[in-house]
């Protein structure tokens, strides 16, 4: 049975904003995570494994950041230690950004659904 005809549309979509430069900036940040070449076939298995591994690394990285902030607030760290720890965590964040971009993963891709417990991150 042929489906009934649908309401036709104009060919071009409407795009509406008063803040084009702001959105261009934000969306460019997202597009920087896309890989330069795409092969859906080979990438899907590799990407699935990368997603799992990077999710776990991201979870641990965020725990380390929170612990560092708690120690800083608690007065446990000398100024030089704060600087050294901050630099190490900053480099770790940058490395994670590179790895996410390499595998074409956005920040929201790095999460695990633990069912009733909720999401990992």
């Amino acid at each position: 049975m042929k489906p009934s005809p649908e309401v036709p549309l104009p060919v071009e979509p409407e795009i509406n904003t008063l803040h084009a430069a702001e959105f261009a900036r934000e969306l460019r940040r997202v597009s920087e995570t896309l890989p330069p070449r795409i092969n859906i076939d080979a990438q899907s298995v590799e990407q699935g494994l990368a997603k799992l591994v990077l999710t776990l690394i991201e979870f641990i990285r965020r725990l380390l950041e929170k612990q560092a902030v708690r120690r800083m607030e608690g007065g446990d760290l000398a100024p030089e230690q704060i600087e050294e720890l901050g630099l190490a965590l900053m480099k770790l964040e940058e490395k994670m950004r590179e790895l996410k971009a390499q595998f074409g993963l956005a920040e929201e891709d790095l999460n695990l659904d633990l069912g009733p417990i909720g999401r990992l991150i």
Partner: protein
Amino acid sequence: MNLYAYCLGDEATAVAVGDVAGVAGARPRLVARAGLTAVVSEYGEERIAVTREGVLAHERVVRRVLAETTPLPFRFGTIVSEARLESYLDTQQAKLKAQLARVRGAVEMSVKIIWNREAAGAGAEEPAGGSGTRFLMKKRRELLGEGEAEGRAAEVDAWLGRALEGLARESLVSLRPSENLILAAAHLVERGLLADYRRALGRARTERPELHFLTSGAWPPYSFTRVDP
């Protein structure tokens, strides 16, 4: 020779393709199988670079179909052999027909909302210290602000839902409280309700001058489709 796959539909798709040029200038053709119609074109490579030209060619073909009927769009860069495509259509026809029923007569509209957190925090002093210290201070501010930001994103999500109540068949919302772009929503909207949807969205925008909106559409229903041969 491989095929570059644009979208899937049913008998209505056949009349919509026309003579539009596809990826690498190839003319799209149809692969009909199991009551489904795939729009494809010949493609000689295994991979395709993400270029503006390629993406626009993909979108041009899918939009030509969308002007007449709502297809299930493939993601950009879906390259497949004809044998594999036919096998996919044969084995997945029930699921694909269910997906087509889900999106029939509707299109995807996009709403993105920025909360200008820099304007909200204007005047906050840059902490002293080296780059490592400033990094940790920034993380401290983020952690303190996280709870507040989550509440704000949830409130905006609920408000938008009320503003568009009854106008979207389905909604998919992504909240990013820690980012400037706090909300990205995809709405599946009946073609016949598009004018009402746009009016409701226009009214809603005027209610919240502190939020910056990017609205767009109609798009093919990428967010509501899962096709992966």
